[in-house]
């Protein structure tokens, strides 16, 4: 598939990368919480994520309430890797604003390890009532 010269930001250190194309997405050090969930199992909340395109904003009802989120897509292959919290409707959820969720199923860990859906019972998306 044709694509131009990808503009990618390089991260140094232990990183999570896209499962399909290995594009670096986030640093291990930037994990805020590992207690999130999504349709495909575990999800981590990150302070910062790179090399993703942010999609359209939409209202979504999460486990912890209504949020405005936008899906994020890997710049390298276009696959959806998680979402970004644009705004939270409830005060106690505001800490998530501007932060990103990467679905564990969609990424390779710092050690290159993958993750298989089905390990954890499927609950709704969101969590970590900090």
């Amino acid at each position: 598939r044709d694509m131009g010269r990808l503009f990618l930001i390089s991260l140094e250190g232990s990183t999570y990368s896209c499962k399909h194309c290995q594009t670096q997405l986030a640093l291990l050090d930037d994990i805020v919480s590992k207690s999130f969930h999504c349709r495909h199992g575990k999800a981590y909340l990150f302070e910062k994520v790179v090399n993703v395109n942010v999609g359209e904003e939409e209202e979504r009802m999460m486990i912890t309430g209504m949020h405005t989120v936008a899906d994020i897509f890997c710049v390298g292959c276009g696959s959806i890797v998680g979402w970004k919290y644009e705004s939270a409707h409830e005060k106690c959820q505001k800490y998530k604003e501007g932060k990103f969720i990467l679905e564990r199923f969609k990424v390779l860990g710092p050690d290159g390890s993958a993750y298989w859906v089905g390990r954890d019972p499927q609950v709704g998306s969101d969590a970590d009532d900090a």
């Binding site: 044709d2 694509m3 131009g4 010269r5 990808l6 503009f7 990618l8 930001i9 390089s10 395109n53 710049v75 390298g76």
Partner: protein, 575 residues
């Protein structure tokens, strides 16, 4: 052409008082006085009484001034009779009686009398009067010296010139003339070149420039005003892409959009994969393109604007991401992605040298302005300077550049420019060994240096282009928007006549062109069937633009087939 000589009306024609003697002393006055201080006769046309008349629709042009500069222009053009006739018919003499008398006396070399008249003009600025007196007395002094009347000359210097207390340095020079007359000739020639006639006209020019414009209307004033208006028209013309010879006074200047390349003249197909970079040589005779297919192609731009393949440069093991032309365009540098830099001979297509560093991939390259060295960015973030044979001359370690970064060197060899942090560009001063940073809020993806090295065009991740001034005060001076960039490295450039335009590639497969000064998006050029990665405007031909695309082709853009020279708007700027 002499200053006063050709434009002087015969004195006897000045029948009516100027009525503007009072204006000379009090320039703020708009009321034309009835009486004049010289007590001339009162005969004058009735229309110049009372409040000052204006011409033109906006009421800002004073009729008197308007007529006077026309009169001045007529005399300058040599139309003495017409000039005099205009003065008579309008009742508006070019010079006041006193000034006319002064000019006449100056022409007749009657220095004593001219000094008297000078004081009668009624100038309020004392220093100016003194300086004008100085000029007149200087002429008297030189004349006396010429007659070899040293005593009288000395007397003039001592008793008339020195008491003025102006231009003391000149006084000393004049004094030296008395002591050494031959020196005087040298002096006279050095300050007032050439023969007597020439030196006389030079003196008149000086005198004219000294007196206020209202007293002695500057020569070529009308021409100057017209040129100013043309400048304004030209600046307002966003499509302007030609030399000035196309101006007409009959209608306001306005180029049509067909002055900018907008039409595909050629589609160059030689690459087997995405074309990522291209650039014209400094002399505009060649174009080099680099591709993901590991190959660089050198194209030749023929007289007829036809672009033909000249060489295919193979050797890189990785996609070629950038090309730089040597200052004299005889050689090329190409850089493979995290690989090596190769130097090629443009004429023969031979690879002359391979530059590499053990264990470290190269990511950018640039020529040194003297053509004797190259600068390369490394994957380990350092920047190295090598001579042509590959010997390392200098190395800046630390975070000087990033994995993906452009490299530029100013023509004076003093500054090296590269992206050193996600949102910062480093301006590394080689000599003074200090650094300055351009800092943005968004991530920087690429940049381009202007021809005069005073501006940097920066591409940001959020699809904006920022134009930075990097000389003196470092700051953003313009923004350009409209193109698309979400995933790729897209490049932009300066171009066109006097680099008045900004062009950019875009992920929507179009070429975008903005007017540099106003930031206005002028054109979007469809045609490519893949993202346009890079654009280059021919530095020697403002009508030619090249673009490189993911569709594996290069397009050469030129002016619209109709080839109209310009489209003029209706008359006097009323649109």
């Amino acid at each position: 052409m002499g200053g006063v000589e050709n434009s002087e009306p015969p004195l006897k024609r000045v029948k009516v008082p100027s009525g503007d003697l009072k204006n000379l002393v009090d320039e703020a006055s708009h009321i034309v006085p009835i009486s004049s201080s010289l007590g001339d006769s009162m005969a004058r046309p009735p229309c110049s009484q009372g409040v000052e008349e204006t011409v033109g629709m906006k009421g800002v042009i004073k009729k008197q001034e308007f007529v006077k500069i026309i009169t001045r222009a007529l005399y300058s053009l040599g139309y003495v009779r017409t000039g005099a006739l205009l003065e008579e018919e309008s009742g508006i003499p070019l010079h006041s009686t006193a000034v006319a008398l002064l000019l006449d006396q100056v022409r007749g070399e009657k220095w004593e009398e001219s000094l008297v008249t000078l004081h009668k003009i009624g100038l309020s600025d004392e220093i100016m009067v003194k300086r004008a007196s100085f000029l007149l007395l200087e002429q008297k002094f030189f004349d006396l010296l010429k007659e070899e009347n040293l005593m009288a000359a000395l007397d003039t210097l001592r008793n008339e010139i020195v008491p003025l207390s102006v231009d003391v340095g000149r006084v000393r020079e004049l004094a030296s003339c008395i002591i050494c007359p031959s020196q005087c000739m040298a002096l006279r020639i050095s300050s007032q070149d050439g023969t007597d006639a020439n030196s006389r006209s030079r003196f008149k020019e000086k005198l004219e420039k000294l007196l206020p414009a209202a007293v002695m209307i500057p020569e070529r004033r009308l021409e100057h005003l017209v040129e100013q208006a043309l400048d304004v028209q030209r600046d307002a013309c966003v499509f302007h892409n030609t030399l000035d010879s196309e101006f007409s006074l009959y209608v306001d200047h306005q180029c049509g959009r067909n002055q900018i390349p907008s039409h595909t003249l050629q589609i160059l197909q030689a690459h087997k994969d995405e074309v990522w970079f291209l650039q014209f040589s400094h002399n505009g005779k060649y174009l080099a393109s680099a591709s993901k297919d590991h190959i660089t192609v050198v194209w030749e731009v023929k007289e007829s604007d036809l672009v033909l393949l000249k060489h295919t440069l193979t050797g890189h093991q990785n996609p070629v991401l950038t090309i730089t032309w040597s200052p004299d365009d005889s050689q090329l540098l190409t850089c493979g992605v995290e690989e090596v830099v190769r130097r090629w001979d443009v004429n023969t297509g031979e690879c002359l040298h391979v530059y590499e560093k053990a264990g470290v991939g190269l990511i950018s390259c640039g020529w040194f302005p003297d053509g004797k060295g190259i600068v390369c960015g490394m994957k380990d973030k350092s920047i190295c300077l090598w001579d042509l044979d590959g010997r390392e001359l200098e190395c800046w370690k630390g975070q000087r550049t990033l994995n993906i970064s452009d490299m530029a060197i100013t023509d004076d060899g003093k500054r090296i420019i590269s992206i050193c942090r996600e949102n910062a560009i480093l301006l590394l001063d080689r000599e003074a060994k200090f650094e300055r940073l351009i800092e943005e809020e968004q991530v920087i993806t690429s940049f381009s240096l202007s021809e005069d090295n005073k501006f940097l065009l920066v591409n940001l991740m959020n699809q904006e282009l920022h134009l930075w001034s990097i000389e003196g005060d470092i700051k953003v001076v313009a923004h350009y928007r409209g193109h698309r960039r979400t995933r790729f490295l897209i490049r932009s450039c300066f171009g066109g006549f006097e680099q008045a335009f900004i062009a950019s590639g875009s992920e929507d497969s179009q070429v975008y062109i903005w007017h540099r000064d106003t930031g206005k998006l002028l054109l979007t050029l469809p045609g490519h069937s893949g993202a346009v990665n890079c654009v280059s405007w021919n530095p020697m031909d403002p009508r030619m633009l090249a673009s490189a695309s993911d569709d594996r082709t290069i397009r050469i853009w030129g002016l619209d087939g109709l080839k109209c020279k310009g489209h003029y708007s209706n008359g006097n700027g009323i649109t």
